[in-house]
Amino acid sequence: MDLNQLKRRGPDEWHISPHGKMRVPGVIYASEDLIRDMDEKVYEQVSNVATLPGIVRASYAMPDAHWGYGFPIGGVAAFDPDLGGVVSAGGVGFDISCGVRALRTGLTVEDLQPVKELLAEALFHRIPAGVGSTGKVHLDRHEMDAMLAGGARWAVGKGYGTHEDLEFIEEQGCMAGAKPECVSDYAKKRQQDEMGTLGSGNHYLEVQQVVQVFDAAAASAFGFREGDLVVSIHCGSRGLGHQIGTEFLKRMAISAARYHIELPDRELASAPINSEVGQEYLGAMRAGINCALANRQIVTHLVRQVFADLLPQATLSLLYDVSHNTCKVEEHVVDGAPTRLFVHRKGATRAFGPGHPDIPPSFRSVGQPVLIGGTMGTASYVLVGTKESMSLAFGSACHGAGRSMSRHQALKQWHGRDVVKELAARGILIRSPSMRGVAEEAPGAYKDVSEVVDAADEANLAKKVARLEPLVCIKG
């Protein structure tokens, strides 16, 4: 990105002055190196989001921002319904409520070594992953609607996990305001066989080791320390969410003219929050969030079964579950007054600071855990929300490394088998049904996650707590 078109407001804060039809400025949080490497399209997309009706304060991009659809991936924008604000299907994306969940195991890396290969095989066989895979949970019409209304709470009621889990999931495991009746039969059919599946692409299930703790107090509150073994799950709302996104994107792209919304890019498809389409989308999208929460809950159950078989001394307790493709109603201070806003996070993680009432009581004094997924060859991070973050980008931080190379290029550069071999030599076991998929997800195709996390830390979006490195990775 050309730095000349930006105003630097801090070491990691860059502003785009309103121009053209922008209603508010654009703000990108990133180091100078990261911003130089960012695609010019991020500038264009941040500026485009700033033209949408009812946008409040600014159109934001996180340090891992890259060229997305309509919104940049790593984009955050909040809209005020009383100012004609919109909700955007493009601003949430296809994989509604895609997110990361981390589980403590009560084990250390020494406990893993004797059964590492066995565990990798068992996880690979028990957790459905990849194109065409199906889960063992099949829902009839009635149960599908109950799942869409209840989320992880429904899953726990069905015996997948415990009530204690719910406390450590955003929205306590159940997104309020879901309307299963706004979800089409097509979307429900697409989900019929996909409950408890991982998906493909950048989704994964990893067994990780806590290799470094940066903030001992936060790590202690979150219940882990150096050397601990953690399980991380990255997946979303599967076919149901993709279908909701597809259908409402079209409806909103067509209805935008009727609502006098000028779309600089059709992918920014939006509708007024206070409109029939807007309300139906919110009902369906919230059902999509519940689907993702239920899905991660079922996958968690499968992981616990595998650990019970191979490492019966393990106790898999939920550290936290974050979603990074959502639109949520939140109260934020705007011009000194608490205001109810519809906050879109597209490839961005909620990062509420200490004291926020939506954080579980046991973490409330330190802030929300912010789970950042890395690649299968590098690292993931746990961060913690800050007080300042609430006034920066509505309590948001980055969500992952972000690709630096297209799948196309990655496939030319690497062979899946070589990637698996190289990682095995470093002690990282990869299991995947597709070697082409592994090549496209090669660690080298991603930005340096540490640089992204350092920028988020320096900008005070969230502070680093720990670095986690993969030991076993199941890829779809």
């Binding site: 659809y69 065409g132 996104g245 597809t246 498809a269 297209s406 799948r407 070697m435």
Partner: protein, 147 residues
């Protein structure tokens, strides 16, 4: 697999880069051919289309107010059929009737070991979306797909 095929009377397909995902492009002498080749490019995101035997057929009908939205609808209809039938498709026959598209797609049930599917497509997007004739009079139909 990512490079354009040699051009035939039926046209050709190619992929174009997008940072997070991948673009699909169909090129043909007619709009129908361009849509058929774009569908082949979609399959190529997942697997080599030549590995997919065209043994079973599925009928697809969609409607949209313009050619571009129709392309997205067509690709999304295929995404839906692939997801719900657990199939892959390699041969396509497309006809237009005003703003509606009538098509047959031929393919076979997915076999993970043989097809080595790289990634599932979540949906076709409006990013880099266009359906138009180029300076040589060929129809080009393209968009980015989210994977």
């Amino acid at each position: 697999m990512q490079r354009p095929r040699s051009e035939t009377v039926q046209g050709n397909w190619e992929h174009f880069p997008h940072q997070a995902d991948i673009g699909v492009r169909g090129i043909g002498a007619t709009k129908e051919a361009a849509f058929e080749r774009a569908a082949q490019a979609l399959t190529a995101v997942i697997t080599d289309p030549e590995s997919v035997a065209p043994t079973q057929s599925v009928t697809i009908v969609c409607e949209a107010p313009d050619d571009e939205l129709l392309l997205v609808d067509w690709l999304n209809a295929l995404v839906y059929e692939m997801a719900t039938r657990k199939m892959l498709f390699s041969r396509f026959n497309v006809h237009f009737n005003d703003h509606s598209l009538h098509a047959t797609a031929w393919g076979e049930p997915i076999e993970v070991a043989r097809h080595q599917p790289a990634v599932e497509v979540k949906g076709a997007t409006y990013t880099e979306l266009s359906v138009k004739q180029d300076e040589r009079g060929r129809w080009v139909a393209q968009c980015v797909v989210d994977v």
